[in-house]
């Protein structure tokens, strides 16, 4: 059997494996934009908390949500390997949760990502999530070198994204039903959220000035949620998440294997608009930080506030193959 190396195919696989964690609204796991906030006077069940966290992380509070390009400012993901080598990828992303017309009613959401730097420069990806959970998601990738669109299968939960410490399960694919949940308590968050410390406050290409570590969540009330995986022989046994008791923002997740802490993910959240008197879950990520304790590898995704926009008047046709084809190399 002859096995030929096909650069196009290789690049395609790379695209699927490195699609950003910003593409999140791809699995709804029984949660959608109609999920209501629990009553204020009662402590929700562990399962209910997991569903609320899913709601916040998939931006169901918005009709559409974008982290776009504003001039030269973009979202950037910085990876630092255990040897100290630093790489960065800039990207934009647009999510649409509003599909109500008769022809679109089978669609749950569509998500468009465009990469602007690194090996994936000029690559675009459009993901379609259907309301029918049995139906597979569509992954369409625009390959600039070939000037063609290719379709792909959904990545694995434990696939690392673009060499980062985040997996597809961490950021996109894991549904509340994939784990058993247990509420272990309620307390105050005591520490600042992590960053790549020697890059704090420094000017960085695309993102401008990188943020300082976020300490403003200290002393906020959080639930401790223990989530034990239902998958066999999995890379972690359980994880502990720190979840804001009001907004259901998950500030921190600790991953354990054989009762040893193996990985940490911190997320800094911000309310999109302080005047917005509505849903406390209408939040966005300001940054994600991940540390793999087994290797010392770090990842830091920074989303500058000025690139965030939501509920924009955009036609659904924006989330289509046509937009992918328009991407400039």
């Amino acid at each position: 059997m002859n096995i030929q190396f096909k650069p196009g195919k290789w690049l395609s696989c790379l695209c699927v494996l490195t699609i950003s964690f910003f593409i999140t609204a791809t699995a709804f796991g029984g949660v959608d934009s109609t999920l209501e906030l629990p009553a204020e006077d009662e402590i929700p069940s562990a399962e209910e908390i997991a569903r609320q966290v899913y709601f916040a992380n998939h931006f169901y509070a918005f009709k559409n949500f974008s982290i776009e390009r504003r001039g030269r400012t973009m979202t950037v993901l910085i990876n630092r390997s255990s040897s100290g080598k630093v790489t960065a990828t800039a990207l934009e992303r647009h999510l649409n949760n509003k599909y109500q017309s008769a022809e679109d009613e089978v669609i749950q959401s569509r998500d468009l990502a465009i990469f602007h730097s690194g090996k994936l420069r000029g690559t675009g990806m459009l993901i379609t999530e259907y309301k029918d959970e049995e139906k597979n998601k569509d992954y369409m990738v625009w390959l600039p070198a070939l000037r063609k669109i290719r379709r792909f299968a959904q990545p694995q939960h434990d696939d690392a994204w673009g060499g980062s410490v985040f997996t597809f399960g961490d950021v996109t694919l894991r549904k509340p039903d994939d784990e058993e949940h247990e509420l272990i308590g309620k307390k105050k968050l005591r520490t600042c959220l992590g960053t790549i410390d020697d890059l704090e406050g420094k000017h960085y290409r695309y993102a401008g000035e990188l943020p300082e570590r976020s300490c403003r969540h200290i002393n906020k009330e959080v639930y401790g949620l223990k989530s034990t995986t239902r998958f066999d022989y999995w890379w972690y046994d359980y994880r502990i998440s720190y979840i804001d008791t009001t907004s259901f923002a998950d500030y921190r997740t600790l991953y354990f294997k054989d009762d040893e802490l193996i990985k940490v993910i911190d997320r800094d959240w911000g309310l999109v608009d302080s005047d917005r008197e509505g849903d406390p879950r209408a939040l966005f990520w300001k940054y994600w930080y991940g540390l793999d304790l087994r290797t010392g590898q770090e990842s830091w995704a920074v989303i500058p506030q000025k690139v965030v926009s939501y509920n924009k008047k955009r036609r659904n046709s924006f989330w289509s193959e046509k937009t992918l084809r328009k991407i400039k190399r």
Partner: protein, 133 residues
């Protein structure tokens, strides 16, 4: 022959040590991990015992009741603003307490310092209009 063996063993030693360094967390990461472990233990013990190094706890004192200043009270927020944006702080400092409280709460929710700066000038001009003298 002995020399070659010596060189070989030295090479192996240096290779092994470089591998182990690669797998170790650097000092700052270790401080961060110590802090989050201390935070996690509070779920079991019910009390927070800060780690020896306080850089990730946002505190300058070891007083656990006050651990984590983190702009939780207005005074801390004012100090933070003074350092982060001295120009805006001049206007902020002249605002009545109710406006300061409002800005503090807004910062805790949004974390958007640019928006806070805009609001400081907005409130300053509002007050100036109300009291032209």
């Amino acid at each position: 022959m002995r020399q070659i063996k010596l060189i070989q063993s030295l090479f192996l030693l240096s290779l092994l040590s470089s591998l182990s360094i690669g797998n170790q967390l650097h000092a700052m990461q270790s401080e961060y991990v110590d802090a989050i472990k201390a935070d996690y233990h509070e779920f079991n013990s019910g009390t927070f015992e800060p780690p020896p190094e306080l850089t990730w706890v946002g505190a300058v004192s070891t007083d656990t009741s006050n651990a984590g200043l983190a702009y939780e009270n207005l005074q801390d927020f004012s100090l933070f603003l003074k350092e982060a944006s001295p120009g805006s702080f001049i206007f902020y400092n002249k605002l009545p307490d109710q406006y300061k409280d409002q800005l503090h709460q807004q910062y805790l929710k949004t974390g958007n310092l640019d928006e806070i700066k805009k609001d400081i000038f907005k409130y300053s001009s509002e007050i100036k209009k109300q009291n032209p003298n």
